[in-house]
C-alpha cells in the first residue's frame, strides 16, 4: 500500500495549482479545476505508468479538464479576477528587468494555448517533447506556440522598442567611433 503512486500526488499540489492558475487566471476556477482533476487522477490511477513523470500526467489531466470545461462553456473563460494582472506595488526596475505587473498583464493577454506552452516549457521546465506529449500536438507546434507567445509578450511590453533603442544606440556609437577613427587617420 505504501508504493501506491497516488501517495505522490500531494507533492504535486502546489504545481497543479500554479498550472491551473496560469490557465484560468482565476483562483476560484483554478481550485475547482484542481479538485476535479484530483478526483480523476485518483480514480484513473491505472492509466498512470509507474516510473513515468507523474507531474506531466497530472498536468495532462488538468489541461483536459480545463479545455473540456471551456468547450462546455462555449467560450473562453475570460477575464478572470485579475489575479494575473494584479498590480504589485513594486519599485520600477532599474536593472533592465520589466516590472512584474507589466508582465502579468501581458501574459494574461496571450491565448490559452500560448500561455500553456510557455508555462510548460518556460517555467515548469518540461522539454518541448514532454509538453507536446501532454498537449497532444507535434513538437513543432509547441515550439511555434512558445515562439509566438514570446514574440507577443515582447510586443505587448514594448520590448522590441527597447531593443530598437539599443540598436540605435550602438549604431550611433559605431558612427561616433567611426568618425573618430577616420578623423584620427
Amino acid at each position: 500500500m505504501s508504493d501506491d503512486p497516488r501517495d505522490e500526488i500531494v507533492k504535486h499540489l502546489p504545481a497543479m495549482r500554479a498550472f491551473a492558475l496560469s490557465l484560468t487566471r482565476n483562483s476560484a476556477l483554478a481550485d475547482d479545476m484542481v479538485q476535479d482533476s484530483l478526483v480523476k487522477a485518483w480514480t484513473k490511477i491505472h492509466t498512470f505508468e509507474p516510473g513515468t513523470n507523474m507531474r506531466a500526467w497530472l498536468f495532462t489531466i488538468l489541461r483536459n479538464t480545463y479545455y473540456s470545461n471551456r468547450r462546455k462553456a462555449g467560450r473562453e473563460v475570460s477575464d478572470a479576477d485579475g489575479l494575473m494582472t494584479e498590480g504589485l506595488s513594486e519599485k520600477p526596475a532599474h536593472d533592465g528587468r520589466l516590472q512584474l505587473a507589466d508582465f502579468r498583464r501581458a501574459f494574461a493577454q496571450l491565448n490559452d494555448e500560448q500561455r500553456e506552452a510557455l508555462i510548460l516549457v518556460g517555467a515548469s521546465g518540461f522539454s518541448y517533447e514532454e509538453a507536446a506529449d501532454m498537449c497532444g500536438v507535434a513538437v513543432g507546434t509547441i515550439k511555434s506556440r512558445t515562439n509566438r507567445a514570446r514574440a507577443r509578450l515582447a510586443q505587448l511590453m514594448n520590448l522590441t522598442e527597447d531593443e530598437a533603442l539599443e540598436m540605435t544606440d550602438s549604431a550611433t556609437m559605431a558612427v561616433v567611433s567611426g568618425n573618430r577613427s577616420s578623423a584620427a587617420g
Binding site: 504545481a15 484530483l38 508582465f103
Partner: protein, 65 residues
C-alpha cells in the same frame, strides 16, 4: 549577429519574468480542502473495497469521528 543576441536577451527577460510569476504561484499555500479531499478519497476507497469483499451493505458507513 546583433539580431540573434537581442532575441536571446529578449527571451531571457521574458523567461525570467515568467519564472518569477510561476514561482509566486508555487509559493502559495495549498488550501486544506485538497488534503481533505485526498484523505476522503483514500477513506472512501478503503470502505468501498471492504464492502465489496465482505457484505455489500453499508454497515461501514458509520465512521468514528
Amino acid at each position: 549577429m546583433a539580431q540573434t543576441r537581442d532575441k536571446t536577451k529578449q527571451a531571457q527577460v521574458i523567461d525570467d519574468n515568467l519564472k518569477r510569476v510561476y514561482q509566486d504561484m508555487l509559493n502559495e499555500d495549498v488550501p486544506d480542502r485538497f488534503l481533505t479531499l485526498l484523505d476522503q478519497l483514500k477513506e472512501q476507497e478503503k470502505s468501498g473495497a471492504d464492502a465489496s469483499e465482505s457484505a455489500p451493505t453499508q454497515v461501514r458507513s458509520a465512521r468514528n469521528s
